[in-house]
């Protein structure tokens, strides 16, 4: 029986659904509680921090020996900024941790935190692009000459000519407002001190446990071997839990200083205030189009608000440099000119969030295609047909090489399923009744599963990308896989077990996967960038493959045949064209207990493999159907269609889950979620009453279809699929809104398209029914 391709229920779920999951907070009951005193202002100088007597409180002055968090990009245009774990003099954003309290329980810790009096000499905060990029702006960081901390630029030779020759130039200013990844479980850490060894175990809700160990050891100047990091069950991360945060460094410092266990369980207010934000971007695009709708060249000025600090390890280059490199997306054109800047402000730090820059860049390109189509009198699907990449491998103007994909085919399948003629008929019938329906298309490429070459190209000092997997089969024939990747809720263990099952011919429940423990797994990069299935999957398959080879040799020896004749399946090693067979468990036993019989083989069944790929591009087409209530400007998403090509599906149910969740976050991006600061840098959206993740009531059922293009770039034949849903949905939804409002000539370029923004656009367009 083959396991790949089956909708196997997740092996993780029985425990999670029956309350058997174990998250940081479940483990923290016995530890002392930690609470952080956070800055009430965005910018200023610390004059004094008054601490209540006989309370356990530490400030930056107690942690002077701790190095700042200072990630590096080796690029001439990058300015490295250090983030002190607790600042001594300078406050850089509202919510920044200024002092730490340790008490017997969380309520007491908060009581004490309230009594810590912070005297700050407040300065004018720099919050947005306008003030940060003003010619006379004071730098947020005195060590930088300006507020631009990273800048990518390029221009192809023929760009000016295509603009000179263009039949139509489409210019647009796109604004994506700031978002939070808002994982269901906030951050949290438990640092336990072991008196016997002097080691600290940090159990934390994180995506990159090994990286965290390295980062903390570096800042605290301690040997990595003195620190063990465990990522237990993690309730979502979406990128927010990749970075090294000051809170985790402080926890380990406290455990070592106080020689006791301490725990910090973040609350939602802190998470919205001080974890990480994303997608605060302003993109200006100019597209040069030929009369037939072909895009000849693109010029772009891209700004990403990276907040007060640079996230470790990926740095504040993550949004601007991805936007720089991947803006061309699924379209085939040669001439490209771009300037992409990372702009620092007195706001919470930017860090990766599912899709990173791609939701904004896809939104930009797809809005541009729709606007160009209208201007040139071409159908929205047709203009895409004329521009999508059709030949592979494709080389983008920025030098990225796209492997085989199905850009055009995926769109055609989606358009067929959408039954646009029937929709158009309904749309015009309902318009006469004052109801406004719309449909929007979005096509995109998703670069996934990329290894060290991609990160090295960015100039990263710490170059992630590969994965190492240890695989062993015990004498009973059960398998343990130790992976450096670290799942945060996406069912990775199930998918890996399916892969390895097919490799070894045993059932998935006989495969145990150990992850998220630096004492028990090989060094790895965790989970992010739609990489785990492609990279940890390949390393698992390769490691298991080595064990399969060994099993076959053992079987061949014991059954006196050639190993080419052995097939591993359903728990048995069978000799082809004969009824001879041995149970795989018996072979495993022999590998350990009769190893003297197998000449040339090392005893036991223990192998490892490393995989470090160049990367593979997934692609998809999203089609959204919406209805806009023009009086209230409320938007309802009636139907949402996805045709995804993520290569071979290891577990289609898990893939569909990834897409559905991603689309929900994409719809949130399109319509609901927005982090808002006031002019002084005070956060106005500090709870879910004001920051608005949609509920199930706002998300329609997502209809998903698959293409399975097999790429030579992926050992497992799977492409990454973790981010696509979030990447494509904002563009599809807003294109649909603009289609609905086309009688008013409304074009929206802002995310989220909130009711008040839509209503304002209607008012300006004269479509407001109440003047």
């Amino acid at each position: 029986m083959n396991w790949i391709g089956r909708r196997l229920p997740r092996l993780e779920d029985p425990a999670l659904l029956k309350g058997g999951g174990s998250y940081v907070a479940d483990r923290a009951a016995k530890a002392a509680a930690v609470s952080f005193v956070r800055s009430p202002v965005a910018r200023g100088t610390i004059v004094d921090i008054e601490i209540p007597s006989d309370a356990t409180v530490f400030t930056g002055r107690d942690l002077v020996d701790v190095k700042p968090i200072r990630p590096i990009l080796h690029r001439p245009d990058y300015v490295a900024i250090g983030q002190p774990v607790l600042p001594i003099d300078r406050v850089s954003f509202c919510g920044q941790a200024l002092a730490v309290v340790v008490a017997d329980d969380a309520a007491l810790a908060e009581d004490i935190a309230e009594q810590v009096f912070v005297d700050i000499d407040v300065a004018d905060a720099i919050i947005n692009f306008e003030t940060a990029l003003a010619p006379d702006a004071t730098p947020v960081h005195p060590e930088a000459a300006s507020n631009v901390l990273v800048e990518g630029r390029m221009k192809t030779q023929g760009l000016d000519k295509v603009f000179a020759d263009a039949a139509e130039i489409v210019a647009l200013d796109v604004r994506s407002h700031r978002q939070s990844a808002a994982p269901m479980e906030n951050r949290g850490g438990l640092a336990e001190y072991d008196a016997g060894s002097g080691r600290v175990t940090l159990t934390a809700s994180v995506q990159m446990p090994h990286m965290l160990r390295t980062g903390i050891a570096d800042t605290l100047d301690m040997p990595e071997s003195d620190l063990r990091v465990i990522a237990p069950d993690v309730g979502g991360g979406f990128g927010q839990k990749m970075s090294l945060f000051p809170e985790y460094v402080v926890l380990v410092w406290l455990a070592r200083k106080l020689k006791r266990s301490v725990a910090w369980i973040e609350d939602r207010r802190e998470n919205l205030l001080a974890s990480a934000h994303s997608r605060d971007q302003a993109f200006s695009l100019r597209g040069a189009f030929a009369k037939d709708g072909r895009l000849l060249g693109l010029e772009a000025d891209l700004r990403s608000n990276i907040g007060a600090f640079s996230c470790y390890p990926v740095t504040c280059g993550v949004e601007p440099l991805m936007a720089f490199a991947e803006l061309p997306g699924p379209y085939d054109f040669a001439e490209y000119g771009v300037r992409s800047r990372g702009v620092t402000t007195n706001t919470c730090m930017m860090a990766p969030y599912r899709g990173v820059s791609r939701p904004t860049l896809t939104f930009s390109m797809e809005r541009m295609m729709d606007v160009a189509a209208k201007r040139l009198g071409i159908d929205a699907a047709e203009i895409r047909r004329r521009n999508l990449i059709k030949a592979f491998p494709h080389r983008s103007p920025t030098g990225l090489v796209y492997d085989e994909g199905s850009y055009l085919q995926a769109m055609e399948v989606a358009i067929d399923a959408a039954d646009l003629p029937a929709f158009r008929a309904r749309q015009s019938a309902l318009r006469t009744l004052g109801r406004y329906l719309g449909v929007g298309i979005s096509v995109f490429s998703e670069r996934t599963g990329y290894g060290t070459p991609a990160y090295a190209a960015r100039g990263m000092d710490i170059v992630p990308g590969y994965e190492i997997v240890d695989c062993s089969m015990d004498p009973s024939g059960d398998v343990v896989l130790r992976i450096g990747s670290s799942p945060h809720g996406q069912g990775l263990k199930t998918s890996l077990a399916q892969l390895v099952s097919d490799e070894l011919g045993i059932e998935p429940h006989r495969i145990r996967i150990i992850s998220g423990d630096t004492d028990a797994t090989p060094y790895g990069w965790g989970t992010f960038a739609s990489r785990s299935m492609v990279i940890a999957g390949a390393a698992s398959k390769l490691a298991a493959g080595k064990i399969a080879v060994k099993l076959k040799t053992i079987a061949a020896t014991l059954m006196e045949t050639s190993s080419d004749n052995i097939e591993l399946k359903d728990g048995w090693a069978r000799v082809s064209h004969s009824n001879q067979a041995m149970e795989i468990g018996a072979l495993a036993r022999a590998a350990y207990h009769q190893s003297h019989r197998f000449e040339g083989l090392l005893p036991g069944l223990h192998e490892n493999a490393v995989y470090d790929p160049g990367g593979t591009f997934s692609n998809a087409c999203h089609i959204a159907f919406v209805e806009v209530d023009i009086e209230t400007a409320g938007v309802r998403v009636d139907r949402f269609l996805v045709v995804e090509d993520a290569g071979v599906l290891i577990n289609p149910m898990i893939v569909d889950g990834q897409i559905t969740g991603g689309v929900a976050q994409g719809i949130a991006n399109a319509l609901f979620e927005e982090i808002v600061y006031d002019d002084t840098g005070n956060l106005l959206t500090a709870s879910f009453a004001d920051y608005l993740p949609p509920t199930a009531a706002e998300i329609p059922e997502i209809e998903i279809m698959h293409m399975e293009t097999v790429s030579p770039e992926s050992v497992t034949k799977a492409k990454g699929v973790g981010e696509g849903g979030a990447i494509g949905a904002p563009a599809a939804v807003v294109n649909a809104i603009c289609d609905a409002l086309s009688p008013f000539g409304i074009e929206l370029f802002e995310l989220p398209a909130t009711p008040q923004r839509i209503r304002e656009a209607l008012r300006r367009a004269g479509g407001a029914s109440y003047a």
Binding site: A107, D111, Y770
Partner: protein
């Protein structure tokens, strides 16, 4: 997000509760469903020294209709209104409105009286009480008084209740079967507080409006009864034209507040849309 320290008292009867309120006054707060108070305490926006939990006061857990009033005891939960609690337009209206209050689990705990005492500007029950001219029965160790809705709401989170008083009962006038009711609310997500909403009730005879009730909520510091517009409706034929005219007037006569979700200008649009839709339903 842990509450500041507080003492917790759980009286067994109303008399005991009133005595405790008389003793502790401003230092204490009544705990009913806890769906507004407990979050506020966890944010440390509210920090009562003493909580007086009224959930054991069975004598306040009732819903009764007499000849012309529906009497809602203080422990009646939102969820009690999921199905019409009385026959006729009033039960229909309450059942329609309750679905817009928060989410199912919250409606199992939160109370009608708690909503009125809390006086959130966007509370649906406060809007209903204002529209229908409810009476609030406040009890204290000093005695009992009945407060008209028009005197009860003083602004955001403030009411006519004294610190030693409990809102023991709310009385809503029953509506004869010839009344028609309408409700419309706009919120960002299911269960969110309204950015704008309206309740309308009308009694029409032979195509002519004889009586009207109309109010909007979620747009200012309290629900606003549109008495002037009620008067304008009376005597007019029920028509699309009058609905439209009233909606426009409502839009112009209120100075709404603004916040990050809705500017004053946008709230005006929501007032117009809500009034139009509530009235359309009530005149259908």
């Amino acid at each position: 997000m842990k509450a500041a320290a507080f003492d917790y008292l759980r009286p067994a009867g109303l008399g005991e509760a009133l005595a405790l309120l008389a003793t502790h006054k401003d230092d204490c707060k009544i705990l009913a469903g806890g769906q507004s108070l407990v979050p506020a305490m966890n944010f440390r926006l509210a920090r009562p020294a003493i909580l007086i939990d009224i959930n054991d006061l069975d004598e306040l857990d009732y819903l009764r209709a007499d000849a012309d009033q529906l009497k809602i005891g203080a422990l009646t939960r939102h969820a009690a209104f999921h199905r019409p609690v009385v026959e006729g337009p009033l039960g229909t209206l309450l059942a329609k409105v309750v679905r817009h209050i928060a989410h199912y689990p919250i409606r199992q705990r939160g109370t009608f009286a708690g909503s009125l005492s809390h006086a959130d500007p966007a509370s649906e029950w406060c809007l209903v009480a204002t529209t229908l001219r409810a009476e609030m029965v406040a009890k204290s160790a000093r005695g009992e008084r009945v407060i008209a809705a028009s005197d009860f709401f003083h602004g955001t989170f403030t009411t006519a209740l004294e610190p030693d008083e409990i809102l023991a009962e709310i009385r809503l006038p029953l509506m004869t079967p010839d009344w028609r009711v309408g409700f419309y609310e706009f919120s960002r997500r299911a269960g969110d507080f309204a950015l704008g909403m309206a309740v309308a009730a009308t009694r029409v005879e032979d195509g002519t409006i004889r009586e009207a009730r109309l109010a909007v909520g979620g747009v200012a510091d309290r629900a606003i009864r549109l008495g002037l517009l009620e008067d304008q409706l009376v005597g007019k034929p029920a028509s699309l034209a009058i609905i439209d005219a009233i909606a426009r007037e409502a839009r112009g006569m209120i100075e709404p507040n603004g916040d990050i979700h809705a500017s004053p200008e946008y709230r005006r649009d929501l007032i117009a849309a809500s009034v139009k839709r509530a009235l359309t339903e009530a005149l259908a």
